[in-house]
């Protein structure tokens, strides 16, 4: 069988993903996480009577906590495979990637397992963020003077 025919056959039998459905789910779940974030900011600034900026810091910590805790209980993997980018793009995805890498390598010990592999997936976010922020900051400093 030549290559093109084989490829056509494989394509025919691959499970088709419904892109519209995936996008809709990601939109709704991501939007709900955004609403939850805003809700937490409002609640915290009302309860502790602190400015919005500090409340948003506590909100981020809460979401990271939720992401880590639900990953430990095993719910979050199923939720991520259902909502995909709806939960990967928010800060919960960052927490999830760190937590799952930590749990996966736990058996290799604290230093060579957890410590060395914690940033296996999340390290790219920090590297790209720091490098881009450095150069964009430098650019802005040179053009606008800070």
């Amino acid at each position: 069988m030549d290559k093109n025919k084989y490829k056509a056959l494989v394509d025919k039998h691959c499970p088709k993903e419904n892109r519209l459905y995936n996008g809709l789910i990601a939109f709704i779940v991501g939007g709900l996480v955004g609403v939850l974030g805003q809700f937490l900011v409002d609640i915290y600034s009302y309860l502790f009577s602190i400015p919005t900026k500090e409340a948003s810091t506590i909100m981020i910590i809460t979401l990271v906590f939720l992401g880590c805790f639900l990953t430990c209980l095993g719910f979050f993997d199923k939720m991520v495979s259902f909502a995909r980018c709806g939960l990967i793009i928010p800060i919960t995805g960052f927490a999830h990637s760190m937590m799952s890498a930590t749990l996966e390598y736990k058996k290799e010990g604290i230093v060579t397992g957890m410590g060395a592999n914690m940033f296996k997936l999340a390290g790219t976010v920090i590297m790209c963020g720091v490098v881009s922020a450095y150069f964009f900051g430098l650019l802005r400093y040179l053009i606008m003077g800070g």
Binding site: G34, L36, Q38, T52, M59, C68, I88, I89, K106, L139
Partner: protein, 116 residues
């Protein structure tokens, strides 16, 4: 109204990510990195601040706000200490997210086991 804006902004960011994930061969790691770079680019020209003003928590939840906070901390220290601020102030505002993620991962990693 701010809740509707938050829903719309966070939803649209996630939708763009999902469209990229479905139609290209990029992994979620590529997409989150791309969004961080995009966030810092938007904030270098003061655009992301308007999103934060307009949709509050909805703009702070997606990973784009990580790049936004990196640039923000940097520019705050640059305006006080000059070009050395690029090195000293980068993590001023993002440290909450990073430190909490590391501490929770470590503590929960000690307590829980991997489930498979």
């Amino acid at each position: 109204m701010i809740y509707f804006n938050a829903f719309l902004f966070a939803g649209v960011v996630c939708l763009i990510g999902q469209i990229i994930l479905d139609n290209t061969k990029l992994t979620p790691g590529h997409i989150t990195s791309l969004f961080v770079v995009l966030g810092s680019l938007l904030d270098a020209f003061d655009i992301y601040d308007k999103f934060v003003l307009w949709c509050g928590g909805g703009a702070l939840v997606p990973i784009t706000s990580f790049g936004h906070l990196l640039i923000h901390g940097t520019m705050d220290t640059v305006s006080n200490f000059g070009v050395m601020g690029l090195f000293t102030g980068m993590f001023d505002l993002t440290s909450a997210g990073i430190v909490s993620a590391i501490v929770f991962s470590f503590v929960f990693g000690l307590i829980f086991k991997a489930r498979d």
